[in-house]
Amino acid sequence: LPVVPEKETEDIQFAQKYLENFYDFKEEKSSLFKSKNFNLMAEKIREMQSFFGLEVTGELNSQTLDVMKQPRCGIPDVRS
């Protein structure tokens, strides 16, 4: 897997926590499914981008991160 720079690691961890809190994202704990994890995360990013009317790319771009960092309500936006 490509080496991810420090800052991006932080952003990914932040985004992961955000998606867990508000988009019902569940990280696959076992590394065996790491790649699946990224697909799953990309799917949840798409869901969040769609909710907020952002361009739906599945990528953790700056607009998406900006919205994630806005002060907000603690209730999930979607729930299973």
Binding site: F52, Q70, P71, G74
Partner: protein, 395 residues
């Protein structure tokens, strides 16, 4: 808009709330006003009525806390998550938690979060709404500072809450009894077109409304309870200010809008009258076998309801007022006394109108008619003075 899975909602229109603690960022009065205003936003577009409790379990318990605070959703320090609330339900259901690590304010400035706006959003959850993806909707998940002075609920939020509870009743509840014609009073100037009047519980300001009138009044274990529509004002020697509750918070199975009520303190009993029925209550408990028809007390069939009742603990007599007449009931023999009904004005000089409510306190009778009350000497039945009905609220 969205609702929670299976759309949980409150099953009755009277919903109670209690503010458990306060943020040091704001004056308590400002917190209370922000919360009350947030409730009013939702009550003005639904049939819901909100009553603040000062003790006991309320449907919606409101609190400020930081980091871990006893549920599975710890707060995260300044920024990020500001607050959260639970959908309608028992226990934690409906409760709203605000992150104390935020700076709360009654203003809409940059360096703080407006408590009214966040509370209005969270209470939307407490009533059953989920998040909306409509930018600008109150239930949009991200905080947006906006002018709160005459903040109006966006249409998406109105559609959402009305999908759960429907629109408000068409007009404010009419008095529960046809009040006798009062002298014409000027309508106080309203600076804005009248909106749907608030249906949140009476506030301190309304305690002192000079036009305030009551349906029924009684003593109860040293306190005085003033009933109107579905609310009760509670004046107690045990706490300083007047408490506002809903009748249903004391007696959930009793319909609101009593016609009359009185206490027999020797029996620790309060009798409630509504229409042609009456209930006997001990504290919170309705006695078995009630309601009973008022004819059981000896009223003729022609009497379909009574206007007011008052018990004299010394003589063990209870006076029932119906129109311009009154009856005397002997609690010892449990029967109406002979020679009644008699004209009220014939025995109680100066009481020329009907009686809406009556109270026995401090050796006097107090007869209420609209926004006036008449203090009468119990023994001589002579009028002592006339006051405003709400003179008991220390306005």
């Amino acid at each position: 808009y969205s609702t929670f899975p299976r759309s949980p909602k409150w099953r009755r229109e009277d919903v109670t709330y209690r503010i458990l603690n306060y943020t040091p960022d704001m004056l308590q009065a400002d917190v209370e006003e922000a919360i009350a205003k947030a409730f009013q936003l939702w009550s003005s577009v639904t049939p819901l009525r909100f009553t603040r409790l000062h003790s006991g379990e309320a449907d919606i318990m409101i609190s400020f806390a930081s980091q871990f605070h006893g549920d599975f959703y710890s707060f995260d320090g300044p920024g990020g998550t500001l607050a959260h609330a639970y959908p309608p339900g028992n226990g934690i259901g409906g409760d709203a938690h605000f992150d104390e690590d935020e700076n709360w304010t009654k203003f809409t400035t940059a360096n703080g979060y407006n408590l009214f706006l966040v509370a209005a959003h969270e209470l939307g959850h407490s009533l059953g709404l989920g998040h909306s993806n409509v930018f600008g909707a109150l239930m949009y998940p991200i905080y947006m500072a906006r002018d709160t002075r005459d903040y109006r609920l966006p249409q998406d939020d109105i559609d959402g809450i009305q999908s759960l509870y429907g629109p408000p009743r068409e007009s404010p509840a009419l008095p529960t009894k046809a009040l006798p014609p009062q002298e014409p009073t000027e309508v106080p100037p309203t600076e804005a077109p009248t909106e749907v009047p608030p249906s949140i519980p009476p506030t301190r300001a309304e305690d002192c409304d000079p036009h305030l009138a009551f349906d029924a009044i009684t003593t109860l274990r040293g306190e005085i309870l003033f009933f109107k529509d579905s609310y009760v004002w509670r004046k107690s020697p045990y706490f300083a200010d007047i408490e506002h509750d809903t009748i249903s918070s004391f007696w959930p199975s009793l319909a609101a809008g009593f016609d009359a009520t009185y206490e027999i303190d020797k029996k620790d009993q309060v009798i409630f009258f509504k229409g042609d029925q009456y209930w006997a209550v001990n504290g919170y408990n309705i006695q078995p076998g009630f309601p009973k028809p008022i004819q059981n007390l000896g009223f003729p069939r022609s009497v379909r309801k009574i206007d007011a009742a008052v018990h004299d603990q010394n003589t063990k007599k209870t006076y029932f007022f119906v129109g311009h007449k009154y009856w005397s009931f002997n609690e010892n023999t449990q029967s109406m006394e002979g020679g009644y009904p008699r004209k009220i004005a014939a025995d109680f000089h100066g009481i020329d109108q009907t009686v809406d409510a009556a109270l026995h306190k401090n050796g006097h009778f107090y007869f209420f008619h609209g926004s006036k009350q008449y203090e009468v000497d119990v023994k001589t039945k002579k009028l002592i003075r006339t006051m405003k009905s709400n003179s008991w609220f220390d306005c």
